[in-house]
């Protein structure tokens, strides 16, 4: 079981999109953690975990996401999850994990959110 991570940074809006593909388990979690820590360390306003292609997640993966969520919150930034598959959703559900983590059901919702963010920045 493999995990492929792609990072896409939008400097202008300070948004980082981390796309996961495959399985996030104890074997693949360590590398993913390094990657995610890197991105979070850059201090973007919003870091989005795009789970469209994520087929599997276990407690090891959740741990990594938890940690990242804590860090972004401490830094006053946000971490969000998008496009979760149903059984991934179920896992988050069961653990009632991260109630204050933003969740976007699909790309449309994410885009709308980004638009509002941008307009807020423009008007500020």
């Amino acid at each position: 079981m493999e995990l492929k991570t792609t990072v896409d940074i939008d400097e202008e809006n300070s948004v980082a999109r981390v796309a996961l593909a495959g399985a996030l388990n104890t074997d693949t979690a360590p590398d993913f953690e390094t990657r995610l820590q890197e991105v979070v360390g850059q201090g973007h306003e919003l870091t989005v975990l795009d789970m469209k292609e994520l087929d599997y997640i276990s407690s090891a993966g959740l741990r990594v996401i938890f940690k990242a969520a804590k860090q972004t919150k401490q830094g006053g930034k946000r971490l969000a999850a998008a496009n979760r598959k149903p059984h991934i959703d179920k896992v988050f559900e069961i653990l009632k994990a991260l109630p204050d983590m933003a969740v976007f059901a699909n790309d449309q919702e994410l885009d709308d959110y980004l638009d509002t963010m941008q307009s807020r920045v423009r008007d500020a």
Partner: protein, 786 residues
């Protein structure tokens, strides 16, 4: 150091002795001080007294001589030369007198100047002076006038005798009266004797106390007759330049003294810094105030010396004592400190420490000797213990290996699970010790199914060896012998041979014709199996023979029973019904029948463990007393054959890299074969990962250790069982759970796995058995899932 016996002893002893010595020295000092003070007082008193007495006697003799002369003149008449001669004699013979004069009343003499011869001693030579000269005539002199005025003997105030002795002097003048005609008393002459102040000074010098103390002598009018400072002579005390005492005090003292009292005062020392004292009294004879001024500190010098000596002696004593205490105490307690140090080292595991030598027979020596002995014994015990432990672990290792070998003698390596179209079977052996004497066997050949369950007498290694022999023979027989009774016979003969230890085996041997369902069986002293039919469990009837291996050439009765589809039989050894609890109550056949009935709906591979768990629960804390064997056989109804598929698939994995991935791959394949839905596959995959992660984290097993995964699939459930030989750890209760739904701040990173396990499965059981953690999670299947 502050807490060592030595320093405590020294400290306490020194303190106590310091106290005792201090108090006794203080008392001694006090008493001695009083004595010394008293002595000093007496001493000074004596000194003063002696000087005064001398002075008194001297002045007294002066007075006496003068009075005597006066008396003579009173009575006798002398001529002028006669008077002169008498005077000369007196002065010559009297060392005490400086000079003497006889001054006649000028009326007695026809010369207006009068007649007054005066003899005095100067430089040892007798001199003559005529006081009736023109200048300094005696009739104007104070001594003459004072005597006249006083009309009685009187000491005259000191003066400088000009025209006479030419020295400072004081005079004792005695007027002489004769009775004249008509009974009148008329003055005849004044007789005098002089005392030079210089001579007085000599006497006074003996009146000193201390190095700077000195005496003073004053006239009745307050003129200083004698003082160490010659400038002060002849001056009135009010003219004293020193500011030692003010005039008022002097006057007051003077008055008191003249009144006859002794006075003493403190004053500033005239010549030295510091406090002085003055003591004034009067000379009895002359009435002159005489006194002594002395420095108290000088006088008390001996006392101070004494004080210092006392302190020095005290301190030295104390120091010496502390030293002595220190030396003695250290010597005595040194062995103790060495012992304490040595025992510290021994406690840490350093066995070869040098111990102090024991001298004498006191408690410390006895302690040291005991310590020596204990140390030696300890070393011996530890060596023996290490040897014993080493040999025990060797043995344990061998036993563990033996167990594996023994288990591998049995089908399924100790836990067999088999399913076919027409039956499902499950069997297991649980030895009481590392190795045991129970066995089971089964073999399918065409339409015939052979079953056997046996129990060797006793348990442990001997039973295991016999069991191995019996098991081998049995498996051979199963292949060739179709008739249970004759198989039993052959087996008995084979086992009897070479059985010197008289071990025996109880055995159940059954043969089922799968087409007809007829079960033929023979029993050699073995408890009859139980049959569950239509929800009711009961024991089968059997006629059995004796146990195998004891006597050759025995016959065994044959039994048979007709089985139908759906029947479930349980063949077991007495380890089950004879499992005792803490109150020595057996599990019993009836309870077994109950369990059998209750688990009837479950697949044999699930029911079996359930029944054994019930036995375990009954036994509770009690150790397993006998080997336990259970075999469940179910004749499956032909129609539902395709539906009921009970499989147990097992695989071993080594801990280490990508364990989860490997395990999940295996699981995927197995589940796929079992036609399990992808969703369920994912869930079970996740559960497997969480279980394995827990094992990796908490078992304490090294990389490379084995973990076994079994998947038991039945019509209505999927069970996943993991076994590991790590430290006792029940993930269901022992792992750290973090609160669900907590916000990011309080979410503990970790402890989520167990939630996932419990949420994605319906049933979870854990047991610890013979050094293994066994976790079994079951997911009940709904009709759409498999």
């Amino acid at each position: 150091m502050a807490t060592s016996i030595t320093s405590r002893l020294i400290g306490l002893l020194t303190l106590v002795s310091a106290l005792i010595i201090g108090v006794s020295m203080l008392i001694d000092y006090r008493l001695s001080r009083d004595e010394i003070l008293e002595r000093l007082r007496i001493q000074s008193q004596d000194t003063i007294q002696a000087a005064i007495i001398d002075m008194e006697s001297w002045l007294g003799s002066v007075e006496g001589s003068t009075r005597f002369l006066a008396r003579i003149l009173e009575q006798r008449q002398y001529s002028r030369s006669g008077l002169e001669q008498m005077l000369k004699d007196i002065v010559a013979n009297s060392e005490d007198i400086f000079g003497a004069a006889i001054a006649l009343n000028p009326e007695q003499v026809d010369s207006p100047l009068g007649f007054a011869p005066y003899y005095f001693r100067k430089d040892g030579i007798l001199n003559y002076a005529d006081l009736a000269g023109e200048s300094h005539n005696y009739q104007q002199q104070a001594w003459y006038l004072d005597a006249l005025r006083a009309s009685k003997p009187v000491w005259v105030e000191p003066y400088f005798d000009r025209g006479g002795g030419e020295v400072l002097m004081t005079t004792f003048a005695v007027p002489v009266y004769r009775s004249a005609s008509e009974g009148r008393r008329e003055l005849y002459a004044v007789v005098t004797a002089d005392v030079a102040l210089a001579d007085l000074q000599a006497y006074l010098q003996r009146l000193h106390l201390g190095d700077s103390g000195f005496g003073i002598l004053l006239s009745r009018e307050g003129i200083i007759l004698s003082s160490p400072d010659s400038d002060n002579l002849m001056r009135h005390y009010s003219e004293l330049e020193s500011n030692a005492l003010d005039i008022a005090t002097w006057r007051e003292m003077f008055r008191s003294v003249l009144a006859g009292r002794e006075v003493s005062r403190q004053l500033q020392c005239p010549q030295l810094p510091g406090e002085c004292a003055i003591r004034l009294g009067t000379l009895q004879s002359t009435g002159w105030p005489v006194g002594v001024i002395y420095s108290e500190s000088e006088i008390l010098a001996p006392l101070r010396e004494f004080q210092i000596k006392t302190v020095v002696v005290g301190l030295t004593t104390l120091l010496l004592m502390a030293l002595a205490v220190f030396l003695v105490t250290s010597r005595i307690t040194r062995p103790l400190s060495s012992l304490a140090l040595a025992s510290d080292k021994i406690a840490r595991g350093v066995m070869d420490v040098p111990l102090p030598s024991a001298r004498g027979n006191d408690e410390v020596a006895r302690l040291v000797r005991s310590f020596h002995a204990m140390n030696k014994d300890l070393k011996t015990y530890i060596a023996e213990l290490e040897a014993a432990t080493a040999s025990r672990s060797r043995l344990e290792g061998e036993l563990a290996a033996a167990r594996q070998i023994q288990m591998s003698l049995l089908p399924g390596s100790g836990e067999a699970s088999d399913e076919a179209q027409d039956y499902s079977l499950w069997a297991t052996v649980r030895p009481a010790k590392s190795v045991g004497g129970d066995l089971y066997s089964y073999h399918r050949s065409g339409d015939t199914l052979y079953l056997a369950v046996g129990d060797v007498s006793d348990k442990g290694v001997p039973a295991a060896l016999f069991m191995a022999r019996a098991s081998g023979l049995l498996q051979q027989l199963m292949i060739v012998e179709a008739d249970p009774a004759s198989a039993m016979q052959k087996l008995n003969d084979a086992l009897e041979a070479g059985n010197e230890n008289c071990m025996f085996l109880t055995l159940f041997f059954g043969v089922i014709d799968m087409r007809s369902g007829l079960l033929r069986f023979a029993s050699a002293g073995h408890n009859a199996p139980a049959l569950l039919r239509g929800g009711t469990a009961s024991r089968l009837q059997q006629s059995d023979g004796p146990a195998l291996g004891l006597a050759a050439g025995l016959q065994f009765p044959s039994n048979q029973v007709q089985l139908v589809e759906g029947d479930r039989i349980a063949i077991y050894t007495d380890g089950i019904d004879e499992a005792f609890d803490a109150q020595a109550r057996m599990f019993g056949d009836d309870r077994l029948l109950d369990c059998l009935a209750q688990t009837g709906a479950l697949a044999v591979a699930v029911a079996g463990p359930e029944i054994l768990q019930a036995v375990e629960r009954h036994a509770g804390e009690q150790q397993q007393s006998d080997d336990i064997t259970l075999m469940l056989l179910q004749l499956t109804p032909r129609e539902s054959a395709t539906q009921t598929a009970q499989t147990v698939t097992r695989e071993n994995f080594t801990l280490g890299e990508s364990l989860v991935t490997r395990a999940q791959e295996w699981l995927e394949q197995t589940l796929h074969r079992l036609r399990v839905t992808p969703d369920l596959q994912l869930e079970l995959s996740l559960v497997t990962e969480e279980i394995l992660t827990n094992i990796e984290k908490y078992s304490g097993l090294p990389s490379g250790a084995q973990v076994s995964l079994s998947l038991v699939s039945t019509a209505d459930a999927l069970a996943l069982e993991t076994r590991d030989k790590g430290i006792a750890f029940n993930p269901l209760t022992d792992s750290h759970r973090s609160p669900l739904g907590a916000d990011i701040e309080s979410a503990e990173i970790g402890g989520l796995g167990v939630h996932l396990i419990t949420q994605f499965t319906d049933q979870q059981t854990y047991r610890r058995f013979e050094g293994s953690n066994i976790l079994r999670v079951t997911k009940v299947l709904h009709s759409d899932q498999a």
